[in-house]
Symmetry: C2
Amino acid sequence: MGGGVIETLVRNREVIASRTGRDVRLVRVADLQTERFAQFDLEGVQTGANASELIADPAVNVVCELIGGIEPARRFILEALNAGKSVVTANKMLLAKHGPELCRAAIEHKADLRYEAAVAGGIPIIKALREGLAGNRIERVCGILNGTCNYILSRMTYEGLEFDDVLAQAIEQGFAETPPDLDIQGHDTAHKCQIIASLCFSTEVDLDAIYVEGVTGVTHADVAYAREMGYLIKLLAIVREAEPGGAIEARVHPTLISEDHLLASVRNEFNAVYVQSDTADATLYYGRGAGRFPTASAVVADIADIARNRCDAPPAPPFRYEQRRPVLPMGEVRGRYYLRLTTLDKPGVLGRVCTILGAHGVSIASCIQTEEHSEDPVHVVLMSHETVESAVRAAVQDIDAIETTREKTHVIRVL
Amino acid sequence: MGGGVIETLVRNREVIASRTGRDVRLVRVADLQTERFAQFDLEGVQTGANASELIADPAVNVVCELIGGIEPARRFILEALNAGKSVVTANKMLLAKHGPELCRAAIEHKADLRYEAAVAGGIPIIKALREGLAGNRIERVCGILNGTCNYILSRMTYEGLEFDDVLAQAIEQGFAETPPDLDIQGHDTAHKCQIIASLCFSTEVDLDAIYVEGVTGVTHADVAYAREMGYLIKLLAIVREAEPGGAIEARVHPTLISEDHLLASVRNEFNAVYVQSDTADATLYYGRGAGRFPTASAVVADIADIARNRCDAPPAPPFRYEQRRPVLPMGEVRGRYYLRLTTLDKPGVLGRVCTILGAHGVSIASCIQTEEHSEDPVHVVLMSHETVESAVRAAVQDIDAIETTREKTHVIRVL
């Protein structure tokens, strides 16, 4: 049923209307478990257990398939496409196994079939590959595409745990599916790998030809040796051109990546896709690969694209100046602040500085004083708690007026 | 003139035609320095010094403005929009200063005005904000948007250099513009900040209201103290909602970011944009923010969008199965390999292992042997040079057959 999609369409209806120039409305929902409807604000929305009736309803222009698995998802998508209706799906397994059949139906009936949510959840990677990099030949894609595997490997890496222990905890805490096989054996990643390979190289790709090795064989010892050599272990989907115009590589396996590589910084349940292409060179896309709202973000983006692309509309305006909102004056911005004082190293100086800061309501989180007891001025570095910028400015003005201060205090804002 | 765009349109014409379903052709180029035309393959392309003639040419549907600066860029863009032609521009300064005027002309004449290349070069961030995150309320955007500043700060951070020394070298090596003021004073970043703020919050934003502090005041001492506290210094553009529906924050200044933050891993001339939004949660986009080809990637993506959105075309097919390319068998994949052997710690074992590897053509780049002289089996970890997978598999089979081997050898591929 897609509770995240329902909530997003309702909550952000105005934003979506503004971004697409269309009033996108949820008109009908189908779910076999009809008792679930009560959880949602479905006023004015027709509900029922029969998906075929939903698909046949003339009020429905776009059908979202959020069932998962092969059947009946495949049948419903074909019904919708055959009726000339656009379809949005998050179903990676179905696309990886039946992509050509669905694609033929979409083309034949001039219907749109979109699947942003099928790969890397809330990251708009399908859009980037299809549109954002339209002027590029894609050379290589490396993706961390399964949050459960990345979560397990991250905890093994940073907490020194063994695979089985992390997996058991992940299942207990609901981070991993039960059974977790589709994730940890690498098949979920392989489905996404198949989709990316098909898209990047405009070719049918046989799912069974993709080499798949999951993370179950990775031991803590391997993780530790890899780190000793400057590497981390990640489950990657790798797609690249092996021979120009000929064979491609498409494979899923645990991979050592240099700890300097940006993918090495992708921790816990996050996903990321690294793309090497001939014109843009390296680009990377990072975000949440699963979860009801990240998935909903992708599904709604697809719906918005379909709405926007209807042919009777003018081009989207470059900016939508719907209002004129002021920029907050810098003095009113709140944040944490790094202050570097340059002062003579006299007794009592730090006390005076702290008194001034306190008087302006600026409280200090930490302090470094360089330990050169000398006649030369020394640096005192302070990090504040959150405060308003005008207070910091006023305090710095007073600090800079102390007779022992030797240079204007450096202020740098903290994110 | 945009040499990168010309080369990309020529080199990737087939790819672009496949992705858009349109034959996008370069028909005309204008540049005051007409002697530059000789550098490019412009057969069949009309060339000249007069941009107004190009704009008026009925064969031209889309005009790319790649001049930069305010005039005559503004005048040419208005000419094109007023003639109902779509425009693609990389001109951030012009958009930041005259966005509303250009936007009005685009809407009035139902023309498309696109500017992906104006922010973060080859990273499709405008597309992500407008379309990929269409179902999201944007809460906060933090961007590293100037490659020169990030390059300077990276070298100060990792090589302990002072600002002036790095800047001088960057100018000498052509990494920085001469004069570098627009970059290092933060104004280039502020232009991009203005565009992002206008787009995210659908509001006009007064460029002069954006607080701008460049990187010229950052000293090596500050970089070092920040690192001591677990932070890096980056020049960030920060945009966020200060009050729901009310004031926004839009500011550019050096900022301490935690070394665990993904933006901290964005080094040298690379750009990145971190977006916090209500549905997708955190997403990040990384790539090259400047350079002729990254810029061309963005310009061509805009052209491709305009071509694709022409109303007489059916929806883009979900996949384009233009060919059927085989997946390279895993045995033929080439790469580097991590091998972990579990063996009794007997003299001569390592020698035998190396002989086997050598016999299969696998050469070793590095080796770790755990130093527990005991009766228990020990681990030997080897990292190979690049080799073909079938050779590694055959060698491992032989190694696992040695009588001192106590466990199957673990093999992990290296990116």
